[in-house]
């Protein structure tokens, strides 16, 4: 029965190749979407990890270091630093604003003022006021200038993959310089980045790295669930394409199935004759989807990081959807009346 299915597939190869490409494209898009939602999660994790923190101290009642709703005094840092078990404390000031990397193109950025230098992928950490480092996603080369918070600043260094809130780029500079630009030089901060273990002073609360990541991914939850929803829609489309193709084929093969049943084929034979085509179709579409996702990923505006486990998974999903999609065709084929074989 497998060979009958494959021979039939061969005969209708044009239709099946078209279907493989269509379903492959759809699956390819689901892979890209997977990569997109993975990168939403990854960028948050990467940004938090950049600080090599063990704990974060924020204002009691505040929601988190990157969602600053309360300012604290930077001077609390000295007090925490004195605690036993604390190796280092750096203040962090976070300001959300917008810049114009190109004329006529305003984009949101998160400006981070830090006590310590952040890891760079190129250039150097700012040495004087009026200098900043930017995430490479902003496309501002070293040496260029940006107008930010009412001042002209010069890009002297570059970071890689430091963004959050769905690709919103980070601009970083020493905290004192940011306090100058944003708060008229007041020694304010959004959070204290602690290495070691601190007891939160009164008026403060401690957050773990996981909790901080949570505050970042919470903001993009809607985007992430939209992606999952699109995934499901795309799967339905894929199953629909497979189902339509196999149903059409089952209709065209009615006489074949009638003859097979008249010759003594059982229902499981008929099932295999259709389902085998679904299996081949979905596995081939799985392969195409990987090619599609690899080819399209670089042209996406946000880094698409397809998780490795998505690749084997797409075959499992494809197979399951292929079989579900073929059900209508299978039912149709199994129900064929063998008496049709006697028609003239």
């Amino acid at each position: 029965m497998w060979s009958i299915a494959l021979r039939d597939l061969q005969m209708r190869r044009r239709r099946f190749i078209t279907a493989v490409i269509a379903v492959g494209l759809v699956f390819g898009i689901t892979l890209l979407l997977d990569g997109f939602s993975a990168s939403l999660r990854n960028e948050a994790a990467r940004t938090v990890a950049t600080f090599k923190a063990d704990e974060w101290l924020v204002s009691a009642g505040g929601s988190g270091p990157f969602t600053p709703d309360h300012l604290i005094s930077q001077d609390a840092a000295a007090q925490v630093r004195a605690q036993p078990g604390v190796r280092n404390v750096d203040p962090l000031l976070v300001v959300a604003t917008a810049v114009q990397p190109k004329p006529g193109n305003r984009v949101n950025v998160n400006v981070l003022g830090t006590g310590d230098a952040l890891p760079l992928s190129g250039g150097r950490w700012p040495a004087r006021s009026g200098e900043v480092v930017v995430n490479d996603g902003l496309n501002k080369p070293i040496g260029s200038t940006i107008s930010m918070l009412g001042a002209q600043v010069r890009v002297v260094g570059e970071m890689h993959g430091v963004s959050y809130f769905a690709g919103t780029n980070v601009i970083a500079l020493p905290i004192s310089a940011l306090q100058q630009l944003f708060a008229g030089g007041q020694r304010v901060a959004s959070a204290l980045v602690v290495r070691g273990h601190a007891t939160a002073p009164s008026g403060f609360q401690a957050m773990t790295n996981a909790e901080v990541r949570g505050t970042l991914t919470r903001a993009i939850k809607v985007a992430a669930s939209t992606v999952s929803f699109l995934d499901i829609l795309l799967w339905i489309v894929a199953a629909g394409i497979i189902g339509t193709i196999l149903y059409m084929t089952a209709l065209e093969r009615t006489r074949d199935f009638a003859a097979l049943k008249a010759m003594g084929a059982r229902n499981h034979h008929v099932f295999v004759a259709i389902a085998a085509q679904a299996v081949v179709l979905s596995l081939a579409a799985g392969l195409v989807s990987i090619v599609v996702s690899k080819a399209l990923a670089p042209s996406f505006p946000i880094t698409v990081e397809v998780p490795t486990r998505s690749y084997p998974l797409i075959f499992v999903v494809a197979l399951a959807l292929g079989l579900v999609g073929s059900l209508a065709g299978v039912r149709r084929a199994v129900a064929t009346d063998p008496a049709l074989a006697f028609g003239g």
């Binding site: 029965m1 060979s3 009958i4 021979r7 039939d8 061969q10 005969m11 006489r255 074949d256 009638a258 003859a259 097979l260 049943k261 008249a262 010759m263 003594g264 084929a265 059982r266 034979h269 063998p338 008496a339 074989a341 006697f342 028609g343 003239g344």
Partner: protein
């Protein structure tokens, strides 16, 4: 050419048809193409089912092939009650006991000749290499040794027919059924097929061939003439009330009864394929219609429809003839 290859090895099963009745419902009317048929065929015979179109040849063959359940009666092949089969036993009968040569061959278009012949063997669980070997031998036997790897589309009707014959023999059935084997063939091809079918009937195998082609007559050990039958041919006279526009019988229906008009008007109209229907006759009270069909065992040549609310009496042909005497 291996003579042994199509030599029947089945048991000497007899084919017994006992009071077989098959009834279809066609637009609410009972059509009974096979009505109380009895038949006893010893092993090794070739039986010809002869009859005009619509007389039930295909119907009878498909019930012998265990594809159509009769309304009443039995078909026995040896010890097997063909009409009582179900599930695995039914599939097994279709697969191993009977081989069918369909009127339109029903070869799988995607498969080569050899692969088509292999299908029943593969369904029966024969290994691929053994099935292929036997398929080749069968095709060589039907003189298609040079067409083994051709697909049906690349073969003539006669060649396709011979592939179908080879396929029907694949699992050494004791009953081979051929439905109108000469219908799709030109006269040159017919001769070869006739000879081939003749060689198939050997001890251990029964061949049943349906045809309206009288050229096949000399081929048969036995000829069964099927004539169109219709339900309700007998029975007492009945009054039928018709409301205006109601159809009494349709053109092409099997003819059973003769009608006399008691009240109202009934029109007989003939459907034309090229335009509006034509009115053949309007029967008024005292007039009769519909006598030719039952008399000559022909289907209705026109549709009878009440023109007004009418009352008619329906007669069996015999009663109609006696009605005035």
């Amino acid at each position: 050419m291996t003579e042994t290859i199509t030599e029947a090895v089945g048991t000497d099963d007899e084919l017994v048809v006992d009071q077989l009745t098959i009834e279809y419902s066609s637009g609410g009317y009972a059509v009974r193409p096979i009505d109380g048929l009895d038949l006893h065929v010893p092993s090794g015979q070739l039986v010809l089912l002869l009859g005009a179109s619509g007389c039930g040849k295909t119907t009878l063959l498909s019930s012998m092939a265990a594809i159509l359940k009769p309304s009443a009666g039995r078909i026995m092949l040896g010890q097997t009650d063909v009409t009582a089969l179900s599930g695995a036993a039914l599939a097994n009968y279709r697969l191993r006991k009977v081989g069918v040569i369909f009127q339109s061959f029903n070869l799988l278009a995607s498969l080569t000749a050899v692969e088509n012949v292999m299908v029943p063997m593969r369904l029966a669980g024969v290994r691929g290499s053994a099935a292929r070997r036997r398929a080749r031998e069968l095709l060589e036997h039907v003189d298609l040794g040079h067409r083994l790897d051709h697909r049906p589309d690349d073969m003539s009707g006669g060649q396709q027919q011979r592939v179908a014959i080879a396929r029907s023999l694949a699992n050494e059935p004791s009953l081979v059924l051929a439905d109108e084997p000469t219908a799709h063939l030109d006269y040159v091809q017919v001769e070869g097929v006739i000879q081939l079918l003749r060689t198939l009937a050997q001890p251990g195998r029964i061949v049943v061939v349906s045809t309206h082609d009288e050229r096949l007559l000399p081929l048969a050990d036995r000829v069964v003439e099927l004539t169109p039958q219709a339900a309700g041919r007998e029975g007492p006279p009945e009054r039928v009330e018709l409301s205006a526009g109601e159809v009494l019988f349709r053109q092409g229906d099997p003819a059973e009864r003769v009608f006399t008009v008691e009240a109202g008007e009934v029109e007989l109209v003939r459907e034309r394929t090229d335009g509006p229907e034509e009115v053949v006759m309007v029967a008024a009270p005292g007039q009769y219609f519909g006598e030719l069909g039952p008399m000559f065992r022909l289907p209705r040549s026109a549709t009878a429809r009440a023109r007004t609310d009418s009352t008619v009496t329906s007669w069996a042909l015999r009663d109609f003839r006696r009605r005035d005497s």
